[in-house]
Amino acid sequence: MLSRLAESVVVVFFAATIAFILLQLAPGDQATALGETVSPEVRAAYRERLGLDQPVPTQYLRWMSAIAQGDFGWSSGQQRPVAALLRDAIPNTLLLMGSALVLSLSCGVVLGAWQGAHANTRRDTAISSALLLLYSIPEFLLALLLLLLFAFTLRWFPSGGITDDLHRFLSPPQQWLDRVKHLALPLLSLSVVTIAIFARYQRAAMRDAMTQPFIQTARAKGLSEAQVRRHARRAAVLPVITVTGLLFPSLLGGAVVVEQIFAWPGMGWVLMRGIGSRDTAVVAAAVIVGSAMTALGALLAEIAREVVDPRVRHT
């Protein structure tokens, strides 16, 4: 467990180093991003203030120690500290990703468990084909199609943002509804692929579990089919937890595009705005925070696995 924690720290360290190397290798720096109209003296002064005139090893040490203290630099596009930008954006991304994870886990597991218990029936094959189709739709495309259908054609849901302009003037229950309505389409865009992934794994795990000796024992004991399936379900939950831990990078990648399409003010949206305004500090911070989130997700999955499966403990 401790080694796992150490690994997460290594990941963040590594990501910070990658971000530093990228910034060093990239043509131009924050001073050149000021534009051609700025005089060379101003640019030199700006460089000096940011420490960009220092030798590379010094810059690297400063960079790492700043990040260790939670200082991600200054956003030239927003004229705010990047850390403040992140503090605003991360909760929104976590809300989106967290609810996507809950929705897709519950739907995917239920669907997959049913399929696994009824493997190779006609309905199972039909669901599998449907899931393969859904799995093959990239998040951004699904987001566009949902936008076209539900926001522009049917007008059931708003087309973007996290709350309505009039949100502050609504009554509390209406505010809730407003939030849910804004969350619905981004959530669905992000979840459909993951539902399909979870269902595929759960189906395979459940099908394998149903052939295990302990299931025969359960049947031989005279348990009802529903009880037997409950036995199998417990054993089949493990692969799904493992997949959850591996899923974070792709979930994060999906969140970036989905946030961009629905103007959801999370990390991805901040990142894309940062890219648009050549805001290198924001871009670097996004790589670091994204990696930290992925490492944290893997860590949580590992903990969950130890809780569920006694065999994994003490190894």
Partner: protein, 288 residues
């Protein structure tokens, strides 16, 4: 059945991609008539409509197939090459080398490839298609390496490898002639699913305006162009979108079918040679 159907669809795509210049009456990059032929809905002359620069969308989608499929295939080929080399090195050498490689892969796994791609594309402002291929390939070999390491590790305990080692076969030859043939199913399945994944990845990147650069167009670029006009010009989103989904679906279905076929053969083949060894793991993570 699924195997044959998906190969059929992919063959169609391949023909469309290769023959794009002869199949399309219009140029994918030139404006036809900015005044009269702009943003036309689908018609006989332009079955997929025209975009805001009055370019024929069908021509763009067909030419886009070239870019999308070529980028995805080449990037996956590269990732298979890197992944197999590193994974096989870990599996064959074992010991400290293997631990180091596996630890490194674990760390690399946690850095989301899309974020790094976005960062690189943003910092360098406009990558060439070739460097995009190199980047995607260089960022997507981790799971291949891990699977190959697992597989070669388990193959190293098999009798035929011991026999080869006992007769003095050197490591490189062992790898090429004795181990590699056993890796082919895994690589074929993983590569096919990888192409599906990479098509979506590249499309997403180009959609955000950070992948393929105009005037060249992949399906993602066309979608990115049309996204702002989705309310009025649905054909700019729907037709390239259908192309992406069909291609990704066909590759995913082919990968699944190949896996089922190989898995069946492996289980049957493993029984008579060495019943104690587990059949090799053929279930690569279907992650994007």
């Amino acid at each position: 059945m699924a195997l044959r159907r998906s190969i059929g669809v992919l063959a169609l795509f391949a023909v469309a991609a290769i023959a794009a210049p002869w199949l399309t009456p219009y140029s994918p990059t030139e404006s036809l008539d900015l005044i009269t032929a702009k943003l036309r809905p689908p018609s006989w002359a332009h079955p997929f409509g025209t975009d805001r620069y009055s370019r024929d969308v069908l021509s763009r989608v067909l030419h886009g197939a070239r870019v999308s499929l070529a980028v995805a295939s080449l990037a996956v080929l590269l990732s298979l090459l890197i992944g197999t080399t590193i994974g096989a090195a870990a599996g064959v050498l074992g010991g400290r080398v293997e631990r180091a490689i596996r630890g490194g892969i674990d760390v690399l796994f946690s850095v989301p490839p899309l974020l790094v791609l976005l960062a690189v594309a943003a910092l360098w402002e406009g990558l060439s298609t070739a460097s995009l291929v190199l980047l995607i390939g260089g960022l997507s070999w981790f799971d291949v390496a891990r699977l190959v390491a697992d597989e070669t590790g388990s193959l190293m305990t098999r009798d035929f490898v011991l026999a080869a080692q006992a007769t003095g076969v050197r490591r490189l030859r062992l790898l090429r002639h004795h181990l590699f043939p056993h890796l082919v199913p895994l690589l074929a399945v993983n590569g096919t699913l990888g192409i599906a994944r990479t098509i979506s990845l590249e499309a997403g990147l180009s959609f955000l305006g950070l992948g393929i650069r105009p005037p060249a167009a992949s399906w993602g670029t066309i979608l990115g162009d049309g996204a702002s006009m989705i309310q009025t010009a649905w054909w700019l989103t729907v037709f390239p979108g259908v192309a992406i989904v069909l291609a990704v679906l066909a590759f995913n279905a082919l990968g699944d079918a190949l896996r089922d076929r190989f898995a069946a053969r492996h289980v049957a083949g493993a029984a008579d040679t060495s019943p104690l060894v587990e059949p090799p793991r053929l279930l690569p993570a279907p992650l994007s």
